[in-house]
């Protein structure tokens, strides 16, 4: 049953059209930018030619020739990434140095990318701890990463890694002198990296004292892994800040 209508009722179409036009003008520029970005993104990926089209044509990655099925399987079990993400990360790794990284990893080539390339990735270049992160996850401890290290790093930093695992690696990252304890000098270095040396000496000392006061449970003047993990359990932001989206 429709309500009784008199003659000459109902909104005219141009009213709706006018308001739609007004609103859409402000979104079209935003959408145009998004579409341009998508196109640029696709162009970059397509530069690799046939391998990429194979990846895009088969969702399950059945026809991809970079890894053997067992390798992909192993990666899926050892990281928090799905098949598609692993392949996407491989392409990111390769993009850093296309001439060094072969397209065929079935015979496990021993390729290491120097730290300078890793540290220049857009996800890492603004991070004050990027050098420590690369050192902790690299095999040689100098920041030069193989593909395994690369995947490992982003797996721990992804959103699905549990808190304890992240806390373990965070402890390693903040332990500058690698003595399995975060002592006062480590704390000072952390603080200076965070604030780019803009705090005064006194303030730095006060902050380090307060940190040790708050977190040191067994009162030995430095933070052990247990102290650190205990403290991280009560830090609500840790999971969302210790996280890189790639």
């Amino acid at each position: 049953m429709v309500a009784s209508k008199g003659p000459g009722c109902g909104p005219t179409p141009d009213l709706l059209f006018g308001s739609g036009l007004l609103l859409s003008r402000y979104f079209i520029s935003d959408w145009a930018a998004l579409i341009k970005k998508k196109k640029a993104f696709a162009r970059r990926w397509n530069s690799d030619g046939p391998v990429v089209s194979e990846l895009e044509s088969s969702d399950m990655g059945n026809k991809q020739t970079i890894f053997t099925a067992q390798q992909l399987d192993a990666y899926q079990d050892c990281t928090y990434f799905t098949r598609k993400e692993i392949l996407r990360l491989f392409y990111r790794y390769r993009d850093l140095a296309p001439q060094l990284v072969p397209l065929d990893y079935t015979n496990q080539p021993d390729v290491k990318l120097p730290y300078e390339l890793i540290g220049s990735m857009p996800e890492l270049k603004d991070n004050p701890f990027r050098q420590r992160i690369a050192e902790v996850f690299s095999e040689d401890g100098e920041g030069n990463m193989t593909l395994d290290d690369f995947l490992d790093m982003f797996s721990v930093l992804s959103e699905m890694a549990p808190r304890d695992l992240k806390a373990y690696y965070a402890f390693k990252i903040y332990d500058f002198n690698n003595d399995d304890f975060i002592c006062k000098s480590d704390l000072e270095k952390t603080l200076n990296k965070l604030t780019r040396n803009e705090l005064t000496e006194d303030e730095v000392k006060m902050v380090c004292e307060k940190v040790i006061d708050e977190a040191d449970l067994d009162n030995d003047g430095r933070l052990s892994l247990e102290d650190f993990q205990n403290m991280i359990n009560r830090a609500p932001d840790f999971l969302s800040t210790f996280h890189i989206r790639i």
């Binding site: 309500a3 209508k5 008199g6 009722c9 909104p11 005219t12 402000y26 979104f27 935003d30 192993a74 899926q76 079990d77 050892c78 799905t82 993400e85 996800e123 603004d126 991070n127 004050p128 902790v136 095999e139 040689d140 395994d148 290290d149 797996s155 890694a161 695992l165 965070a170 002198n177 690698n178 003595d179 399995d180 002592c183 000098s185 603080l191 965070l194 604030t195 705090l199 902050v207 940190v211 708050e214 449970l217 067994d218 009162n219 030995d220 003047g221 430095r222 052990s224 892994l225 247990e226 009560r234 830090a235 609500p236 932001d237 840790f238 969302s240 800040t241 210790f242 890189i244 989206r245």
Partner: protein, 753 residues
Amino acid sequence: MEDDSVFYTDRSGRITSNPLLDELPSYQSLLYRRKQPIAGTKRRKDSRGRSSLSGSLKRSVSTINRIEERQKSQMEQRAIRELPISMAEKRRHKEERLGEHQGLSSWGQWRQNTRRSLKRLRDDAREFFSSMKLWRRDIHQIEGMFGTGILSYFSFLRFLVALNLIIFLLMFSLVMLPIIVAPHASGNVTYNQRDGGNCSIYPSTARRGLVNFHQHISDLLSGEGFLEQTLLFYGYYKVDKIHFPKVNSTYNLALAYLLATVAYLLLSLFWIVKRSATGFKRHLVQDEDRFQSFCNKIFAGWDCCISNENAAKLKRSSLLYELKTDLEEERIKQKIAERTRKDKCRIYFLRAILNLFVIGVLAACFYGIYVATNLSQEAEINKTKVNFITDLIYEYLPSIVITLANFITPLLFSVIINYEDYSPAFEIRFTLMRCVFMRLTSIGVLLFSLWSKITYCGRDKSCGCGYNHELYSCWETRVGQEMYKLTIFDFIIIAAVTLFVEFPRKLIVKYSQCGLAKWWGQQEFAIPQNVLEIVYGQTICWIGTFFCPMLPAICTIKYFFIFYIKKVSLIKNCRPATRPFRASSSHFFFLVVLLIGLFLASLPIAVSLAQISCSKACGPFVNYTTSWEVLPVTVSQMPEGAKKLLFALSSEAFAVSFFVVTCLAMFYVIALAGAHKRVINQLREQLATEGRDKRFLIQKLCQAQNNQPVKRSKFQPRSPRSPSSPSYHTSFSSNVSESVFLAHSPPKSSTHV
């Protein structure tokens, strides 16, 4: 700190003073736990300082092997990817496990395989669903540019879009769909009879004759005219029951309307509580921010998602600002502790006066809203038409006054709070609470003034139909129209402020050279004010859905557009706030404010359902006195058993005992939490004293060693070596018997089991 001579570092930062520390059981168990996943194979060269010890520990490997095996079996259960080891070792681990599984029976193998494929399926499904999430890429972009604080605002907005959509689907499927489907399914619709009394006169409001174009616009904006008797408002639903002969059942639309209202309120409550459950636990039970604010800032302060240089610079400066503010707070706390009695009296007196002033301001605003509503209603009833613009202003007068009040009062509050001398963190929270109170009660005042008009029939007369039927023949539709107007106006204001205030501000600041522009500065994205805006809109939606069932759909579209407006404005106009808003506490704050809005919204609905008589001229409840009466009438028509059960559930005895049991449970849980906290504090103190004892004993031992040169042949090897930095592993290796002796004791007293 006490005498630290036990720990002193040489220039390289290594602690090298006492080999006894390395022989302590607690340190040994630390090493066992850390070596656990590796079982003696290659490990990352990250503990260069201590790795030299691994050689000496091999001597005591036999004693710890069995412990390792036990731990290894415990660790088997953990997923490989959760282990903190390098990739090559994870792969070796996986192959080991696979090798073990070959030895299992075929049933065991099948179980393992299904478990693995289920896990794989779950991961893939999770990825699929997260890729389906609305606005994933936009939010990712915002996160990279502005960090997690502002991100939480936008994901909150996304949550509200989903919530409104679900509420609309609920109302649609329970109320509108049967009416639409009835003719097609050959349903027999019984309409509410107009029993001819003067209560049930409902003049048609459709415009006749030649209608000006601008009247259509004013109808669209105010919900009158051609929109009044459509699906949009309550008055259209004159259906009582629908009988479907094919399935031989009757659909009671009045009952469905009532139950849909209750259902959407409960659904919103459950969804919000579920969403806030994790944040609530962290915030209320632990609330460690007071106790480790510095640790949180240093170790969890840097937002690794930032991928933009400007954002990184701003994040750094905001962290710096936070640290300085915290140090400042420490100083202020000291200052407060040192306040004299005279100071305290002065401050309390000042605070009392300022709070009275605030109450006065609020009362003035509420009175203004009341007067505006009365004026607006009177203009409508008297149908005085001056011209298009003035009419529109009269229609929107309550909305305009509410928006003005909500614009001025936060500025006023933020000025007043400076004189009240609270700590900075408390200042922010208190101002926010005042603003929340102001925004949400202004809607309540509007509704109150509407109701007082609806139920007022004359100075000493009581209303014949329970409400003023001469002025408001269908009062629910009128209330629905007010809510509709508020929603539309809110949306127009948000769009207009972005277009006409923020964009020009950015242009002025960017291109003008005068000092005033520089002082004004670029727009900051103030998260609390924006959140209050959308919570206000959502509260109106909750109240209005009963009177205007299509309002949730309108709100969904509104929030959809607001997302894009805010995003564009954020990227083009704003710089991130200098006062950073922490993601965790903000998550909790948004949901608390939303819950307050929900409770404040359910009050007017409860009053309309239960207190005020429903209209006799329109709507599904014509045959009942109040809307709530549908439920008792339906229950009385149910079979005996169900009726008895429902009466028992709603009787006072059951309600009181349920309340008492809930209170008891709550007191028990609170007492338990308090006891746990006390135990934790005691244990903490105990740990500290144990640490001190340990250091004292070690010192004494060192002194004893130094004082006994005869028995010292074992320790003498220290002196021939370099005097400045005795390396402890050499002293270890030269004291084979000593190390073995000490290494044997840990298994009994170690703390790792």
